[in-house]
Protein backbone atom coordinates (compact mmCIF):
# COMPACT_ATOMS: atom_id res chain seq x y z
CA UNK A 1 0.00 0.00 0.00
CA UNK A 2 1.32 3.44 -0.90
CA UNK A 3 0.57 6.42 1.25
CA UNK A 4 -0.11 9.81 -0.32
CA UNK A 5 0.52 13.25 1.08
CA UNK A 6 -3.25 13.72 1.31
CA UNK A 7 -3.53 10.62 3.50
CA UNK A 8 -0.96 12.05 5.87
CA UNK A 9 -2.80 15.37 6.07
CA UNK A 10 -6.12 13.62 6.63
CA UNK A 11 -4.74 11.44 9.44
CA UNK A 12 -3.14 14.52 11.03
CA UNK A 13 -6.47 16.31 10.84
CA UNK A 14 -8.35 13.37 12.41
CA UNK A 15 -5.80 13.29 15.24
CA UNK A 16 -5.99 17.10 15.57
CA UNK A 17 -2.26 17.48 14.89
CA UNK A 18 -1.28 20.66 13.11
CA UNK A 19 1.24 19.80 10.44
CA UNK A 20 3.23 22.07 8.08
CA UNK A 21 3.83 21.23 4.43
CA UNK A 22 7.46 20.37 5.19
CA UNK A 23 6.55 18.20 8.19
CA UNK A 24 3.94 16.43 6.10
CA UNK A 25 6.56 15.53 3.48
CA UNK A 26 8.89 14.21 6.15
CA UNK A 27 6.12 12.29 7.92
CA UNK A 28 5.14 10.75 4.61
CA UNK A 29 8.68 9.42 4.21
CA UNK A 30 8.70 8.04 7.78
CA UNK A 31 5.31 6.41 7.51
CA UNK A 32 6.13 4.97 4.10
CA UNK A 33 9.20 3.37 5.67
CA UNK A 34 6.99 1.74 8.31
CA UNK A 35 4.57 0.60 5.63
CA UNK A 36 7.43 -1.04 3.77
CA UNK A 37 8.34 -2.96 6.89
CA UNK A 38 4.74 -4.09 7.26
CA UNK A 39 4.76 -5.21 3.65
CA UNK A 40 7.83 -7.36 4.29
CA UNK A 41 6.16 -8.89 7.35
CA UNK A 42 3.07 -9.67 5.33
CA UNK A 43 5.10 -12.15 3.28
CA UNK A 44 5.07 -14.44 6.35
CA UNK A 45 2.36 -17.08 6.33
CA UNK A 46 0.20 -16.40 9.42
CA UNK A 47 -2.78 -18.47 8.34
CA UNK A 48 -2.74 -20.71 11.42
CA UNK A 49 -1.81 -17.99 13.92
CA UNK A 50 -4.48 -16.59 16.21
CA UNK A 51 -4.51 -12.76 16.01
CA UNK A 52 -3.25 -11.12 19.18
CA UNK A 53 -5.15 -8.24 20.70
CA UNK A 54 -2.55 -7.46 23.34
CA UNK A 55 1.22 -7.77 23.65
CA UNK A 56 0.89 -9.31 27.13
CA UNK A 57 -0.31 -12.87 27.37
CA UNK A 58 -2.52 -12.09 30.35
CA UNK A 59 -6.19 -11.86 31.17
CA UNK A 60 -8.13 -8.76 32.23
CA UNK A 61 -8.61 -8.39 35.97
CA UNK A 62 -12.11 -7.34 37.01
CA UNK A 63 -13.21 -5.25 39.94
CA UNK A 64 -16.26 -5.61 42.15
CA UNK A 65 -19.15 -3.32 41.30
CA UNK A 66 -18.81 -0.99 44.29
CA UNK A 67 -18.58 2.79 44.54
CA UNK A 68 -15.13 3.71 45.82
CA UNK A 69 -14.74 7.30 44.61
CA UNK A 70 -15.83 10.43 46.44
CA UNK A 71 -16.63 13.88 45.08
CA UNK A 72 -13.36 15.67 44.28
CA UNK A 73 -14.61 18.08 41.64
CA UNK A 74 -13.38 21.18 43.50
CA UNK A 75 -9.83 19.78 43.53
CA UNK A 76 -10.01 18.69 39.87
CA UNK A 77 -11.51 21.96 38.75
CA UNK A 78 -8.75 23.97 40.42
CA UNK A 79 -6.61 23.24 37.34
CA UNK A 80 -9.38 23.74 34.76
CA UNK A 81 -9.11 26.90 32.61
CA UNK A 82 -12.73 27.90 33.21
CA UNK A 83 -15.54 26.55 35.37
CA UNK A 84 -18.99 27.76 36.37
CA UNK A 85 -21.58 26.28 38.71
CA UNK A 86 -19.69 23.00 38.77
CA UNK A 87 -19.47 22.75 34.98
CA UNK A 88 -16.27 22.76 32.94
CA UNK A 89 -16.56 25.53 30.34
CA UNK A 90 -15.31 25.11 26.78
CA UNK A 91 -15.72 27.19 23.62
CA UNK A 92 -19.22 26.69 22.25
CA UNK A 93 -19.61 23.48 20.24
CA UNK A 94 -22.78 22.63 18.40
CA UNK A 95 -22.85 19.91 15.85
Amino acid sequence: MTLSLDDVKRIANLARIEISEGDAQQTLAHLSGIFNLIEQMQAVDTESVEPMSHSQDMVQRLREDVVTESDQHVLFQSIAPQVEAGFYLVPKVIE
Partner: protein, 478 residues
Protein backbone atom coordinates in the same frame (compact mmCIF):
# COMPACT_ATOMS: atom_id res chain seq x y z
CA UNK B 1 -43.95 1.91 -7.40
CA UNK B 2 -44.36 -0.31 -4.34
CA UNK B 3 -41.62 0.27 -1.79
CA UNK B 4 -40.34 -1.99 0.93
CA UNK B 5 -39.15 -0.43 4.18
CA UNK B 6 -36.02 -1.83 5.81
CA UNK B 7 -35.22 -0.93 9.42
CA UNK B 8 -32.47 -1.92 11.82
CA UNK B 9 -32.20 -0.55 15.35
CA UNK B 10 -29.29 0.28 17.61
CA UNK B 11 -30.32 0.46 21.22
CA UNK B 12 -28.18 1.82 24.02
CA UNK B 13 -29.21 0.31 27.34
CA UNK B 14 -27.61 1.85 30.40
CA UNK B 15 -26.61 -1.01 32.68
CA UNK B 16 -27.93 -0.95 36.23
CA UNK B 17 -24.55 -1.19 37.91
CA UNK B 18 -23.76 0.85 41.02
CA UNK B 19 -20.42 2.14 39.73
CA UNK B 20 -19.05 3.05 36.30
CA UNK B 21 -17.71 0.57 33.80
CA UNK B 22 -14.03 1.48 34.29
CA UNK B 23 -13.99 3.41 37.57
CA UNK B 24 -15.43 3.34 41.07
CA UNK B 25 -17.48 6.53 40.65
CA UNK B 26 -21.23 6.37 41.31
CA UNK B 27 -23.76 6.51 38.45
CA UNK B 28 -26.70 7.74 40.55
CA UNK B 29 -28.94 9.98 38.43
CA UNK B 30 -29.42 13.68 39.15
CA UNK B 31 -26.24 14.37 41.14
CA UNK B 32 -24.65 17.85 41.13
CA UNK B 33 -22.54 18.51 37.99
CA UNK B 34 -19.18 16.71 38.01
CA UNK B 35 -19.62 15.45 41.57
CA UNK B 36 -19.50 11.88 40.24
CA UNK B 37 -16.68 12.31 37.73
CA UNK B 38 -13.49 10.86 39.17
CA UNK B 39 -9.90 11.07 37.89
CA UNK B 40 -10.46 8.12 35.50
CA UNK B 41 -13.68 9.59 34.10
CA UNK B 42 -12.16 12.98 33.38
CA UNK B 43 -9.04 11.31 31.93
CA UNK B 44 -6.34 12.80 34.11
CA UNK B 45 -2.89 11.67 32.95
CA UNK B 46 -1.70 8.34 34.30
CA UNK B 47 -5.06 6.80 35.17
CA UNK B 48 -6.00 3.30 34.02
CA UNK B 49 -9.40 1.71 33.45
CA UNK B 50 -10.34 -1.35 35.52
CA UNK B 51 -13.31 -3.28 34.19
CA UNK B 52 -16.46 -3.61 36.32
CA UNK B 53 -17.45 -7.25 36.80
CA UNK B 54 -21.11 -6.22 37.22
CA UNK B 55 -21.19 -4.74 33.72
CA UNK B 56 -19.74 -7.90 32.16
CA UNK B 57 -22.18 -10.04 34.10
CA UNK B 58 -25.17 -8.05 32.85
CA UNK B 59 -23.96 -8.36 29.25
CA UNK B 60 -23.61 -12.14 29.70
CA UNK B 61 -27.16 -12.35 31.06
CA UNK B 62 -28.45 -10.44 28.06
CA UNK B 63 -26.58 -12.73 25.68
CA UNK B 64 -28.06 -15.80 27.34
CA UNK B 65 -31.57 -14.32 27.28
CA UNK B 66 -31.46 -13.85 23.50
CA UNK B 67 -29.76 -17.18 22.85
CA UNK B 68 -26.59 -15.56 21.53
CA UNK B 69 -22.93 -16.58 21.55
CA UNK B 70 -20.85 -15.21 24.43
CA UNK B 71 -17.39 -14.41 23.07
CA UNK B 72 -14.39 -15.33 25.16
CA UNK B 73 -11.94 -13.74 24.95
CA UNK B 74 -13.79 -10.50 24.32
CA UNK B 75 -11.83 -7.38 23.41
CA UNK B 76 -12.14 -3.67 24.14
CA UNK B 77 -11.19 -1.15 21.48
CA UNK B 78 -10.70 2.59 21.28
CA UNK B 79 -13.10 4.55 19.09
CA UNK B 80 -11.34 7.83 18.35
CA UNK B 81 -13.11 11.14 17.96
CA UNK B 82 -12.91 14.60 19.46
CA UNK B 83 -15.73 16.15 21.41
CA UNK B 84 -15.52 18.06 24.70
CA UNK B 85 -17.78 15.63 26.56
CA UNK B 86 -15.33 12.79 25.76
CA UNK B 87 -12.25 13.75 27.77
CA UNK B 88 -9.89 10.98 26.61
CA UNK B 89 -10.36 11.81 22.92
CA UNK B 90 -11.61 8.24 22.46
CA UNK B 91 -14.45 6.14 23.73
CA UNK B 92 -13.68 2.69 25.08
CA UNK B 93 -16.00 0.41 23.15
CA UNK B 94 -15.79 -2.95 21.41
CA UNK B 95 -15.16 -3.61 17.75
CA UNK B 96 -13.83 -7.10 17.08
CA UNK B 97 -15.05 -9.87 19.39
CA UNK B 98 -17.92 -8.04 21.10
CA UNK B 99 -19.09 -9.78 24.24
CA UNK B 100 -22.40 -10.88 22.68
CA UNK B 101 -22.73 -12.06 19.08
CA UNK B 102 -25.87 -13.18 17.21
CA UNK B 103 -29.06 -14.15 18.98
CA UNK B 104 -32.71 -13.39 18.29
CA UNK B 105 -35.94 -12.22 19.90
CA UNK B 106 -39.51 -12.84 18.85
CA UNK B 107 -41.88 -9.91 18.61
CA UNK B 108 -45.67 -9.74 18.51
CA UNK B 109 -47.15 -7.39 15.89
CA UNK B 110 -50.92 -7.51 16.17
CA UNK B 111 -51.67 -11.23 16.18
CA UNK B 112 -48.56 -12.07 14.13
CA UNK B 113 -45.31 -13.30 15.60
CA UNK B 114 -41.96 -12.50 13.97
CA UNK B 115 -38.35 -13.29 14.77
CA UNK B 116 -35.80 -10.46 14.70
CA UNK B 117 -32.14 -11.43 14.53
CA UNK B 118 -29.51 -9.54 16.46
CA UNK B 119 -26.08 -8.80 15.08
CA UNK B 120 -24.25 -8.13 18.31
CA UNK B 121 -24.32 -6.43 21.68
CA UNK B 122 -21.18 -4.79 23.00
CA UNK B 123 -20.06 -3.02 26.15
CA UNK B 124 -18.95 0.59 26.05
CA UNK B 125 -18.72 3.70 28.16
CA UNK B 126 -21.12 6.63 27.86
CA UNK B 127 -19.93 10.20 27.20
CA UNK B 128 -20.64 13.24 29.38
CA UNK B 129 -23.31 15.86 28.73
CA UNK B 130 -22.88 19.20 26.97
CA UNK B 131 -25.07 22.17 27.91
CA UNK B 132 -25.20 24.76 25.19
CA UNK B 133 -27.50 27.22 26.96
CA UNK B 134 -26.93 29.32 30.07
CA UNK B 135 -23.17 29.77 29.73
CA UNK B 136 -22.99 33.11 27.89
CA UNK B 137 -21.67 31.78 24.61
CA UNK B 138 -19.71 28.90 26.06
CA UNK B 139 -20.58 25.23 26.48
CA UNK B 140 -20.85 23.72 29.96
CA UNK B 141 -19.62 20.14 30.41
CA UNK B 142 -20.94 17.75 33.03
CA UNK B 143 -18.93 14.51 33.14
CA UNK B 144 -21.10 12.63 35.66
CA UNK B 145 -22.44 10.41 32.88
CA UNK B 146 -18.99 9.86 31.36
CA UNK B 147 -17.96 6.26 31.94
CA UNK B 148 -21.44 4.91 32.67
CA UNK B 149 -21.72 1.33 31.41
CA UNK B 150 -23.78 0.90 28.25
CA UNK B 151 -24.76 -2.17 26.29
CA UNK B 152 -25.20 -1.27 22.63
CA UNK B 153 -27.59 -3.76 21.08
CA UNK B 154 -27.52 -3.91 17.29
CA UNK B 155 -30.23 -5.68 15.28
CA UNK B 156 -30.11 -7.03 11.76
CA UNK B 157 -32.17 -4.99 9.24
CA UNK B 158 -35.10 -7.36 9.80
CA UNK B 159 -37.95 -4.93 10.43
CA UNK B 160 -40.31 -3.91 7.64
CA UNK B 161 -42.49 -1.22 9.25
CA UNK B 162 -42.42 1.33 12.03
CA UNK B 163 -44.88 -0.88 13.92
CA UNK B 164 -42.39 -3.76 13.83
CA UNK B 165 -39.59 -1.45 14.95
CA UNK B 166 -41.68 -0.26 17.90
CA UNK B 167 -42.67 -3.84 18.79
CA UNK B 168 -38.99 -4.85 18.72
CA UNK B 169 -37.90 -1.86 20.83
CA UNK B 170 -40.69 -2.59 23.35
CA UNK B 171 -39.74 -6.26 23.50
CA UNK B 172 -36.12 -5.40 24.26
CA UNK B 173 -37.19 -2.70 26.72
CA UNK B 174 -39.27 -5.26 28.57
CA UNK B 175 -36.50 -7.89 28.38
CA UNK B 176 -33.69 -5.76 29.84
CA UNK B 177 -35.90 -4.81 32.78
CA UNK B 178 -37.12 -8.40 33.13
CA UNK B 179 -33.60 -9.78 33.56
CA UNK B 180 -32.66 -6.82 35.77
CA UNK B 181 -29.81 -5.33 33.73
CA UNK B 182 -31.29 -1.87 32.96
CA UNK B 183 -34.00 0.23 34.61
CA UNK B 184 -35.43 1.18 31.21
CA UNK B 185 -36.10 4.78 32.22
CA UNK B 186 -36.39 6.54 28.86
CA UNK B 187 -36.84 10.07 30.28
CA UNK B 188 -33.50 9.74 32.05
CA UNK B 189 -31.88 8.30 28.92
CA UNK B 190 -31.35 4.79 30.29
CA UNK B 191 -32.78 3.28 27.10
CA UNK B 192 -32.11 5.12 23.82
CA UNK B 193 -32.86 4.14 20.23
CA UNK B 194 -31.21 4.99 16.92
CA UNK B 195 -32.92 3.74 13.76
CA UNK B 196 -31.28 2.85 10.44
CA UNK B 197 -33.90 3.34 7.75
CA UNK B 198 -33.84 2.64 4.02
CA UNK B 199 -36.34 1.76 1.30
CA UNK B 200 -36.07 -0.44 -1.78
CA UNK B 201 -38.43 -1.43 -4.60
CA UNK B 202 -40.61 -4.28 -3.36
CA UNK B 203 -39.25 -7.62 -4.49
CA UNK B 204 -35.63 -6.50 -4.87
CA UNK B 205 -32.79 -7.75 -2.70
CA UNK B 206 -30.25 -4.95 -2.75
CA UNK B 207 -30.52 -2.64 0.26
CA UNK B 208 -31.16 1.04 -0.42
CA UNK B 209 -28.93 3.79 0.94
CA UNK B 210 -29.74 4.21 4.61
CA UNK B 211 -30.06 7.14 6.95
CA UNK B 212 -29.53 6.87 10.67
CA UNK B 213 -31.99 8.73 12.89
CA UNK B 214 -30.77 9.65 16.34
CA UNK B 215 -32.35 11.08 19.45
CA UNK B 216 -35.39 8.82 19.71
CA UNK B 217 -36.23 8.78 23.38
CA UNK B 218 -39.80 7.46 23.26
CA UNK B 219 -41.61 4.73 21.36
CA UNK B 220 -43.98 7.31 19.90
CA UNK B 221 -41.10 9.37 18.53
CA UNK B 222 -39.48 6.20 17.15
CA UNK B 223 -42.63 5.43 15.19
CA UNK B 224 -43.18 8.99 13.98
CA UNK B 225 -39.55 9.55 13.03
CA UNK B 226 -39.45 6.35 10.97
CA UNK B 227 -42.74 7.13 9.21
CA UNK B 228 -41.51 10.60 8.43
CA UNK B 229 -38.11 9.42 7.22
CA UNK B 230 -39.65 6.72 4.98
CA UNK B 231 -41.94 9.30 3.35
CA UNK B 232 -38.98 11.64 2.83
CA UNK B 233 -36.90 8.94 1.14
CA UNK B 234 -39.74 7.75 -1.10
CA UNK B 235 -40.46 11.35 -2.19
CA UNK B 236 -36.82 11.83 -3.18
CA UNK B 237 -36.62 8.53 -5.07
CA UNK B 238 -39.92 9.02 -6.90
CA UNK B 239 -38.74 12.41 -8.09
CA UNK B 240 -35.67 10.73 -9.55
CA UNK B 241 -33.29 11.83 -6.81
CA UNK B 242 -30.89 9.75 -4.77
CA UNK B 243 -30.57 9.26 -1.01
CA UNK B 244 -27.41 10.54 0.63
CA UNK B 245 -26.15 8.39 3.48
CA UNK B 246 -26.28 10.57 6.56
CA UNK B 247 -27.11 10.92 10.20
CA UNK B 248 -30.38 12.72 10.87
CA UNK B 249 -31.77 14.11 14.07
CA UNK B 250 -35.45 13.77 14.95
CA UNK B 251 -37.05 17.02 16.07
CA UNK B 252 -40.15 16.13 18.07
CA UNK B 253 -41.45 19.71 18.19
CA UNK B 254 -41.54 20.03 14.42
CA UNK B 255 -42.13 16.32 13.77
CA UNK B 256 -39.38 16.09 11.17
CA UNK B 257 -35.88 14.74 10.73
CA UNK B 258 -33.03 16.95 9.67
CA UNK B 259 -29.47 16.32 8.63
CA UNK B 260 -26.78 16.22 11.33
CA UNK B 261 -23.83 15.14 9.23
CA UNK B 262 -23.36 13.30 5.98
CA UNK B 263 -21.16 10.33 5.22
CA UNK B 264 -18.84 12.56 3.20
CA UNK B 265 -17.54 14.28 6.31
CA UNK B 266 -18.21 11.31 8.58
CA UNK B 267 -15.65 10.42 11.19
CA UNK B 268 -13.07 7.78 10.63
CA UNK B 269 -13.00 6.29 14.11
CA UNK B 270 -9.68 4.44 13.67
CA UNK B 271 -10.65 1.60 16.01
CA UNK B 272 -7.82 -0.37 17.55
CA UNK B 273 -7.56 -2.71 20.57
CA UNK B 274 -7.15 -0.68 23.76
CA UNK B 275 -3.68 -1.39 25.16
CA UNK B 276 -4.93 -0.40 28.63
CA UNK B 277 -7.28 -3.36 28.75
CA UNK B 278 -6.40 -7.02 28.44
CA UNK B 279 -8.64 -9.57 26.73
CA UNK B 280 -11.62 -10.50 28.92
CA UNK B 281 -11.96 -14.22 29.50
CA UNK B 282 -15.38 -15.52 30.48
CA UNK B 283 -15.31 -19.00 31.96
CA UNK B 284 -17.94 -21.64 31.30
CA UNK B 285 -18.53 -21.65 35.03
CA UNK B 286 -19.37 -17.95 35.02
CA UNK B 287 -21.80 -18.45 32.15
CA UNK B 288 -23.46 -21.37 33.98
CA UNK B 289 -23.78 -19.23 37.09
CA UNK B 290 -25.35 -16.39 35.09
CA UNK B 291 -27.74 -18.85 33.46
CA UNK B 292 -28.94 -20.06 36.86
CA UNK B 293 -29.51 -16.51 38.05
CA UNK B 294 -31.85 -15.71 35.14
CA UNK B 295 -35.57 -15.70 35.88
CA UNK B 296 -38.01 -17.58 33.64
CA UNK B 297 -37.91 -15.51 30.43
CA UNK B 298 -40.96 -13.73 28.98
CA UNK B 299 -41.14 -15.94 25.89
CA UNK B 300 -41.08 -19.10 28.00
CA UNK B 301 -43.69 -17.67 30.32
CA UNK B 302 -45.97 -16.74 27.43
CA UNK B 303 -45.97 -20.22 26.01
CA UNK B 304 -46.45 -21.72 29.47
CA UNK B 305 -49.49 -19.48 30.07
CA UNK B 306 -51.04 -20.64 26.82
CA UNK B 307 -50.37 -24.33 27.51
CA UNK B 308 -50.86 -24.51 31.26
CA UNK B 309 -53.60 -21.94 31.85
CA UNK B 310 -55.34 -21.95 28.47
CA UNK B 311 -54.81 -18.22 27.95
CA UNK B 312 -54.85 -16.63 24.49
CA UNK B 313 -51.54 -15.47 22.99
CA UNK B 314 -52.76 -11.91 23.47
CA UNK B 315 -53.58 -12.35 27.17
CA UNK B 316 -50.23 -14.07 27.69
CA UNK B 317 -48.38 -11.17 26.08
CA UNK B 318 -50.26 -8.55 28.15
CA UNK B 319 -49.46 -10.39 31.40
CA UNK B 320 -45.77 -10.65 30.51
CA UNK B 321 -45.21 -6.98 29.73
CA UNK B 322 -43.36 -6.71 33.01
CA UNK B 323 -41.95 -9.38 35.26
CA UNK B 324 -43.78 -7.87 38.25
CA UNK B 325 -47.17 -8.21 36.54
CA UNK B 326 -46.50 -11.81 35.52
CA UNK B 327 -45.28 -12.62 39.04
CA UNK B 328 -48.54 -11.20 40.40
CA UNK B 329 -50.47 -13.45 38.03
CA UNK B 330 -48.32 -16.48 38.94
CA UNK B 331 -48.88 -15.94 42.64
CA UNK B 332 -52.62 -15.48 42.21
CA UNK B 333 -53.14 -18.50 40.03
CA UNK B 334 -50.98 -20.67 42.27
CA UNK B 335 -53.59 -20.23 45.02
CA UNK B 336 -56.42 -20.80 42.55
CA UNK B 337 -55.62 -23.90 40.52
CA UNK B 338 -57.60 -24.17 37.31
CA UNK B 339 -58.72 -20.53 37.34
CA UNK B 340 -56.08 -19.07 35.00
CA UNK B 341 -58.57 -17.37 32.73
CA UNK B 342 -60.58 -15.84 35.61
CA UNK B 343 -57.35 -14.60 37.24
CA UNK B 344 -56.06 -13.19 33.94
CA UNK B 345 -59.34 -11.37 33.26
CA UNK B 346 -59.35 -9.75 36.68
CA UNK B 347 -55.68 -8.77 36.60
CA UNK B 348 -55.89 -7.30 33.09
CA UNK B 349 -59.27 -5.70 33.80
CA UNK B 350 -60.11 -4.59 37.31
CA UNK B 351 -56.58 -4.60 38.76
CA UNK B 352 -54.74 -2.97 35.83
CA UNK B 353 -57.57 -0.50 35.20
CA UNK B 354 -57.56 0.66 38.79
CA UNK B 355 -53.75 0.90 38.85
CA UNK B 356 -53.75 2.98 35.67
CA UNK B 357 -56.44 5.26 37.00
CA UNK B 358 -54.48 5.95 40.15
CA UNK B 359 -51.07 6.02 38.45
CA UNK B 360 -49.71 3.11 40.47
CA UNK B 361 -47.36 0.27 39.56
CA UNK B 362 -48.30 -3.33 40.19
CA UNK B 363 -45.75 -3.45 43.04
CA UNK B 364 -47.79 -0.76 44.82
CA UNK B 365 -51.13 -2.52 44.32
CA UNK B 366 -53.13 -2.31 47.57
CA UNK B 367 -54.73 -5.69 46.81
CA UNK B 368 -52.16 -8.45 47.06
CA UNK B 369 -52.34 -11.73 45.09
CA UNK B 370 -53.53 -13.64 48.15
CA UNK B 371 -56.42 -11.22 48.67
CA UNK B 372 -57.32 -11.32 45.00
CA UNK B 373 -57.23 -15.11 44.98
CA UNK B 374 -59.48 -15.16 48.05
CA UNK B 375 -62.00 -12.99 46.23
CA UNK B 376 -61.84 -14.90 42.94
CA UNK B 377 -62.38 -18.15 44.84
CA UNK B 378 -65.77 -16.79 45.94
CA UNK B 379 -66.67 -15.93 42.35
CA UNK B 380 -65.73 -19.36 41.09
CA UNK B 381 -67.72 -21.19 43.79
CA UNK B 382 -70.74 -18.98 43.15
CA UNK B 383 -70.78 -17.23 46.53
CA UNK B 384 -70.69 -13.79 44.93
CA UNK B 385 -71.59 -12.42 41.51
CA UNK B 386 -69.13 -10.43 39.41
CA UNK B 387 -70.87 -7.24 40.45
CA UNK B 388 -70.66 -8.05 44.14
CA UNK B 389 -67.03 -9.09 43.69
CA UNK B 390 -66.20 -5.63 42.38
CA UNK B 391 -67.73 -4.14 45.49
CA UNK B 392 -65.62 -6.44 47.66
CA UNK B 393 -62.56 -5.57 45.56
CA UNK B 394 -63.19 -1.87 46.18
CA UNK B 395 -63.38 -2.50 49.91
CA UNK B 396 -60.06 -4.35 49.96
CA UNK B 397 -58.48 -1.67 47.74
CA UNK B 398 -59.57 1.17 50.00
CA UNK B 399 -58.43 -0.68 53.09
CA UNK B 400 -61.93 -1.18 54.53
CA UNK B 401 -61.17 -4.82 55.01
CA UNK B 402 -58.41 -7.32 54.48
CA UNK B 403 -60.07 -10.44 53.43
CA UNK B 404 -62.82 -11.17 50.94
CA UNK B 405 -64.68 -13.64 53.15
CA UNK B 406 -64.81 -11.22 56.07
CA UNK B 407 -66.11 -8.41 53.85
CA UNK B 408 -68.72 -10.66 52.22
CA UNK B 409 -69.96 -11.68 55.67
CA UNK B 410 -69.89 -8.14 57.07
CA UNK B 411 -71.78 -6.64 54.12
CA UNK B 412 -74.14 -9.57 53.74
CA UNK B 413 -73.09 -9.86 50.09
CA UNK B 414 -73.48 -13.60 49.94
CA UNK B 415 -75.11 -14.59 46.72
CA UNK B 416 -78.26 -16.70 46.81
CA UNK B 417 -77.39 -19.87 44.94
CA UNK B 418 -79.85 -22.22 46.50
CA UNK B 419 -82.27 -23.44 43.79
CA UNK B 420 -85.28 -23.71 46.04
CA UNK B 421 -84.75 -20.24 47.45
CA UNK B 422 -84.51 -18.75 43.96
CA UNK B 423 -87.54 -20.72 42.78
CA UNK B 424 -89.54 -19.14 45.57
CA UNK B 425 -88.41 -15.65 44.55
CA UNK B 426 -89.26 -16.37 40.91
CA UNK B 427 -92.72 -17.66 41.84
CA UNK B 428 -93.44 -14.49 43.82
CA UNK B 429 -92.37 -12.29 40.91
CA UNK B 430 -94.45 -14.23 38.38
CA UNK B 431 -97.54 -13.81 40.54
CA UNK B 432 -96.86 -10.11 41.09
CA UNK B 433 -96.32 -9.30 37.39
CA UNK B 434 -98.95 -11.09 35.30
CA UNK B 435 -98.75 -8.42 32.57
CA UNK B 436 -95.06 -9.12 31.81
CA UNK B 437 -95.69 -12.84 31.87
CA UNK B 438 -98.45 -12.39 29.30
CA UNK B 439 -96.22 -10.12 27.19
CA UNK B 440 -93.43 -12.68 27.20
CA UNK B 441 -95.76 -15.48 26.27
CA UNK B 442 -97.08 -13.43 23.36
CA UNK B 443 -93.54 -13.19 22.03
CA UNK B 444 -92.12 -10.03 23.57
CA UNK B 445 -88.56 -11.10 24.47
CA UNK B 446 -87.92 -7.87 26.33
CA UNK B 447 -90.41 -8.81 29.02
CA UNK B 448 -88.06 -11.60 30.07
CA UNK B 449 -85.28 -9.18 31.01
CA UNK B 450 -87.73 -7.11 32.95
CA UNK B 451 -88.75 -10.20 34.96
CA UNK B 452 -85.08 -11.06 35.64
CA UNK B 453 -84.67 -7.51 36.88
CA UNK B 454 -87.62 -7.91 39.24
CA UNK B 455 -86.17 -11.11 40.72
CA UNK B 456 -82.78 -9.43 41.21
CA UNK B 457 -84.55 -6.51 42.83
CA UNK B 458 -86.49 -8.56 45.35
CA UNK B 459 -83.33 -10.51 46.18
CA UNK B 460 -81.50 -7.19 46.69
CA UNK B 461 -79.07 -8.15 43.96
CA UNK B 462 -78.01 -11.32 45.73
CA UNK B 463 -79.59 -13.97 43.54
CA UNK B 464 -77.20 -15.81 41.25
CA UNK B 465 -78.13 -14.29 37.86
CA UNK B 466 -77.35 -17.41 35.86
CA UNK B 467 -79.63 -19.49 38.05
CA UNK B 468 -82.35 -16.85 37.94
CA UNK B 469 -82.23 -16.98 34.15
CA UNK B 470 -82.53 -20.71 33.83
CA UNK B 471 -85.18 -21.12 36.53
CA UNK B 472 -87.25 -18.28 35.12
CA UNK B 473 -87.03 -19.75 31.64
CA UNK B 474 -88.13 -23.16 32.91
CA UNK B 475 -91.06 -21.75 34.89
CA UNK B 476 -92.30 -19.64 31.98
CA UNK B 477 -92.33 -22.59 29.63
CA UNK B 478 -94.17 -24.85 32.12
Amino acid sequence: MQWEIVIGLEIHAQLSTRSKIFSGASIAYGARPNSQACAVDIALPGVLPVLNQGAVERAIKFGLAIDAKINSPSIFARKNYFYPDLPKGYQISQFERPIVEGGHVSIQVGDREKTIRLTRAHLEEDAGKSMHEDFHGMTGIDLNRAGTALLEIVSEPDMRSSAEAVAYAKTLHSLVRWIGICDGNMQEGSFRCDANVSVRPLGTEKLGTRCEIKNLNSFRFLERAIDHEVARQIDILEEGGRIIQQTRLYDADRDETRSMRSKEDAQDYRYFPDPDLLPVVISGEWIEHAKKSLPELPEDKRSRYVKQHGLSAYDASVLTVTRELSDYFDQTVEMLPGQGKLSANWIMGEVSGRLNKEGLEIAQCPVNPEQLAGLLRRISDGTVSGKMAREVFDSIWSGEGNDADAIIAAKGLKQISDDSEIEKLVDDVLIAHPQQVADYQSGKEKAFNSLVGQVMKVSKGKANPAQVNSILKRKLSE
